[in-house]
């Protein structure tokens, strides 16, 4: 049961980065044993605050007290020693080490001789994974795991430290619905054990599900801390974004045109794997001016399907892909780009952004040719193109020359979509486009997708959040273990029906 004693108190904490005030005099407290949600749009300062808690950022103004003691963690080890564990939004795993080695990284178990005790670590990791109700093999390298499972490894790592304070930074952003259920069961168990949980999220349904108190941050400032019973989701959204968000069905009144993409019994082999096929006999059609959703659990083959359509699948696919009446075989993304297919990838940081290039260069990278004469880039034309794209998608940036890494997640995503729109694609593939994007930016992305669709683009979008697909799509395909287990027209789809199809093993 949460007490009234403040376990963590934050007083007047300010953190400045060159050019930005990430936190501006934030003051609130977290009580022992409570589930405390911290909400706010991306860029509100949630992640910075958590980095201060966990010792990632050692220098800041103001005071931080744990149990009444003023503390200032010089590094993450010191924070861990004080019983604070953090699960970062951007995963911090060594991809080539096994899952067990990652769980015990820095606190390796040793035998009497001082050698690594892999057996004990794998056993302990297996116990933790069992506790998390997942079947990750402890000896498997993390690289081979999907994002969702990698996050579970992070959670297992935090659990293994017996932390008294657990900070979760957007833990569900890569999880499927069933994994979220599982996570909340675990959270319930941890709360029963007396662990204090600080839960950072912008998913209001999760926040309202369990939290004791909710703190709202906006633009680096503390807006309000309140008990869950005192507020409603609508009010919370209002506090977060400073305005009301209208939730409407985007798909109303769209009129899909002729077929632009026809996929006929597409299969993707999986050499050396028990399942043998990543995708098996998937057939569907995409029309001009239509948004086609692809739903499915982790590992169902959503990303693989898009990869096949973009010529970047791990192995060559089998079957037919017909684009505008012509059969195509893409050997590389360059071929796909030329044919008019565009892919906005799922993992923005790893597969999308060029961190060393600025906003302009990130936007024009796909279609530099349009700004160049005889391969020589015209700076004026390029800047013009970048400005046009920024205006078109309403990207919030200080200018064309700003660092792309300084933009919020939603605006980075828009810049990547803008990059692809410059290629004037016929088919736009969006792989979980709202992952790690806040509520306000999400709504704006939905509007952008809707507008592009109405302009005649054929769009395929995947998502781990079913409500998102339901508001956005004209039709939804459901994949389960690489097979197409259901196709739903608008009006037919409910979360219930989609979930049933996504978990239908045999067909």
């Amino acid at each position: 049961m949460p007490s009234d004693v403040p376990l963590i108190s934050i007083e007047n904490v300010t953190k400045r980065f060159p050019g930005v005030v990430a936190l501006d005099g934030v003051t609130f407290d977290v009580r022992a044993g409570e589930f405390h949600a911290v909400v706010g749009e991306n860029g509100a300062g949630k992640s910075t605050l958590m980095k201060i808690f966990s010792g990632v950022i050692p220098d800041f103004e103001g005071t931080l007290r744990i149990d009444g003691q003023e503390v200032r963690f010089a590094n993450t080890r010191k924070a861990e020693a004080a019983g604070i564990s953090i699960i970062h939004q951007e995963l911090n795993l060594v991809e080539d080490l096994s899952a067990a080695a990652n769980v015990f990284l820095g606190r390796e178990r040793r035998t009497a001789l001082g050698l690594l005790d892999d057996r004990a670590m794998q056993r302990a990791a297996a116990t933790l994974f069992a506790e998390l109700e997942c079947n990750i093999r402890p000896d498997q390298p993390v690289r081979r795991l999907r994002v969702g499972d990698q996050q579970l490894v992070e959670i297992a790592k935090a659990l293994s430290q017996d932390a008294s304070i657990l900070i979760m930074d957007e833990p569900t952003s890569a999880l499927t619905e069933s994994e979220v259920e599982r996570l909340f069961r675990i959270i319930e168990r941890l709360l029963a054990r007396g662990v204090t949980i600080v839960y950072i999220s912008h998913k209001l349904d999760e926040v309202f599900r369990r939290s004791d108190r909710i703190t709202v941050l906006r633009d680096g400032k503390h807006v309000r801390t309140m008990a869950r019973s005192e507020t409603r989701p609508r009010e919370l959204t209002h506090l977060m974004v400073g305005r009301e968000i209208s939730s409407f069905h985007h798909a109303e009144g769209r009129a899909p045109g002729e077929v632009v993409l026809d996929v006929k019994s597409l299969s993707l082999p999986w050499t050396g794997h028990a399942r043998a096929w990543r995708l098996r006999n998937v057939s569907f059609r995409l029309r001009r001016g239509e948004v086609l959703g692809v739903a499915g659990l982790m590992g169902a083959g959503r990303t693989e399907l898009l990869e096949c359509l973009f010529g970047t699948s791990p192995e060559p696919p089998v079957g037919q892909i017909v684009l505008e009446g012509k059969e195509v075989h893409f050997a590389s993304p360059a071929d796909a780009k030329r044919a008019g297919v565009a892919l906005v990838t799922e993992d923005r940081k790893r597969l999308g952004l060029f961190p060393q290039l600025n906003v302009r260069e990130n936007i024009t990278v796909c279609m530099l040719e349009e700004a160049a004469t005889a391969s020589l880039i015209s700076a004026r034309k390029e800047r013009h193109a970048a400005r046009e794209s920024i205006a078109l998608l309403n990207i919030k940036t200080p200018g064309t020359e700003a660092a792309i890494t300084g933009l919020s997640g939603g605006n980075q995503q828009k810049a990547i979509i803008a990059r692809w729109l410059r290629t004037r694609p016929k088919v736009l593939l969006l792989d979980d486009p709202t992952r790690g994007v806040d509520v306000g930016a999400k709504a704006e992305l939905y509007r952008v997708i809707d507008r592009l669709c109405r302009e005649g683009l054929g769009i395929i979008v995947t998502s781990s959040e079913l409500p998102e697909l339901i508001t956005l799509c004209d039709r939804i395909l459901v994949l389960c273990e690489g097979r197409l287990t259901g196709t739903f027209e608008r009006g037919e789809f409910t979360e219930q029906a989609l979930m049933e199809a996504a978990t239908r093993r045999e067909l």
């Binding site: 060159p18 050019g19 930005v20 005030v21 050692p58 220098d59 010089a74 973009f310 970047t312 590389s332 993304p333 360059a334 796909a336 780009k337 030329r338 892919l343 990838t345 790893r350 597969l351 999308g352 952004l353 060029f354 961190p355 060393q356 290039l357 260069e361 990278v365 796909c366 530099l368 040719e369 160049a372 391969s375 020589l376 880039i377 919030k396 200080p398 200018g399 020359e401 700003a402 300084g406 990059r419 290629t423």
Partner: protein, 563 residues
Amino acid sequence: MADLSAGARDPLRFLRRHETGLLLAIVLVIGLTTLLDSQHNYWRDPWTNGVQIMRQTSLLGIFAIGSAIVIISGGIDLSSGSVICFSGTICATLLLLLAPERMRGGDAPIDLWVLTLAIAGTLVVGFLIGSLHAWLITVVKLPPFIATLATLVGLRSLAWAICENVTKATLGGRSSQIQIFDPRFRYLATSVWIPAVIFAVLAVCAWVMLSRTVLGRHLYALGGNEEAARLSGVRTDRLKWFAYCFSAILSSIAGILYICEVSVADPQTLGMGYELNAIAAAVVGGCSLQGGLGTVEGTVLGTIFLRTVIDGVAKVIKTGSKVYEGLIVGVVVVFAVALSQTGKLRGREGFFAGPLGLVAAINVSLFAGVMAVLVGPTFVAAPIELLNDVTKRLIGTTLIKGQTTLSAPVLGVWVACSLFALFLLARSSLRTRNRNLARVILGLAIFGVYFALDFGLPAYQMHRATVAVENAGGKIETQANGDVRVEFAGTALDDVTLKSLGDSLRSLHVAELSLAGTNVTDDGMDSLATLTTLKRLDLSRTKVDRGGTRTLGRALPDLDITQ
């Protein structure tokens, strides 16, 4: 958001650029060298020195640009030294095969078409090597480090084998090198303009390519995030092909210029270790080995900086630039890269904290000590001479002795101990006020020890020498003109004792020595040969004969001997 835009339009951004810092560093190095060099070569003869540095810079710069482009694209080219060697050898081999009679010697020029063909052939070889790298990396999927490491070791030995076989076939005798007698090659060896112009043209081309073309932008994208570049429809494999070919062809051009310089193609030594200098120049110039960062102008400045530092140190300590070249490159790379990422270092507890810090403190102190032993006395001499020069002109007299009297080992130990003490202070957990006090005390102590050693050590030696001489029955007196006179006249001094006194007499700076009536013989004269301050020697009533004095006279020609 408003704050961000202010950061983006920073009026002082120019000053914060890596290139500006390098430019200032180059000016500083040239200035310091001019001042510290006791012969002031840069001041007296800027033309010759400028030309010399420009020549070295151009040769290194040509292939450093190639290395930089590979590094920017996210790879690494370790092979440039071997490619220089291989293409130089191929160029000489082609000349030998196409015009064997002209290559046997004599001043007859080689036909122009032969020269053109040989150079063209060499460039084609460069293209082929670059393509081999690209194939190994993109198709065989070797890491760039491994692929170019293989050619680094492989090509040199292939060049040697080719050289031996071709010389046997054409000249009749196996040779591990090919001489080139053509006068045009000789001209190239002394000309600075040809390498400089080639370098300038290549640098401008590379600069336009990297900063103004689609290709260049895609290279940055490839280096910054390879997967994202591929998924953006950039043909990454072709880009890599281009980058490695560009690097190899530039190395080939450098290879031709290097064989001109020495008029011989010697596969065993040509271009040995040059790849690391090229990578160092690129890294000093701001290229990141992670890829995606770096510029041509930075690399050019990095090359100039490296060459001016090497030349400057050679000028100041007056040894051949080759001896310390590697050491300088190593130190410069560490400092340049460490300084350019000061942002990352902020927030650290200090450079010498913890057990690793302790060992690092020992490391750095030892290194400084060894350097003091190696170059210390001359290096200390340079600023002292400069100071004396200035004071002589201003007030007509020198303030301090022109040289430190400390011997190199003592100086080395002093430097190492002082530095180590400073590091220990930096590690200590004293509070600010105490720390400042400790700094002052330690500083005074270090200088105190220096002056104590500088004055005390000679005084102590003098004392020991006096005691030793007096124990042997000698009398020491200082005469009115300051000369030291040592009198052994009438004592039973023999050869063995005289030999043991050799060092003592030297420490006393003895000017006049009387051995009249002692037991010394010819054998003892050797121990006197090292007394460079000796002016008069009295050997009357001893067993020393003409033979002994003759050897002594040869060693000390100004010596006045009484017999």
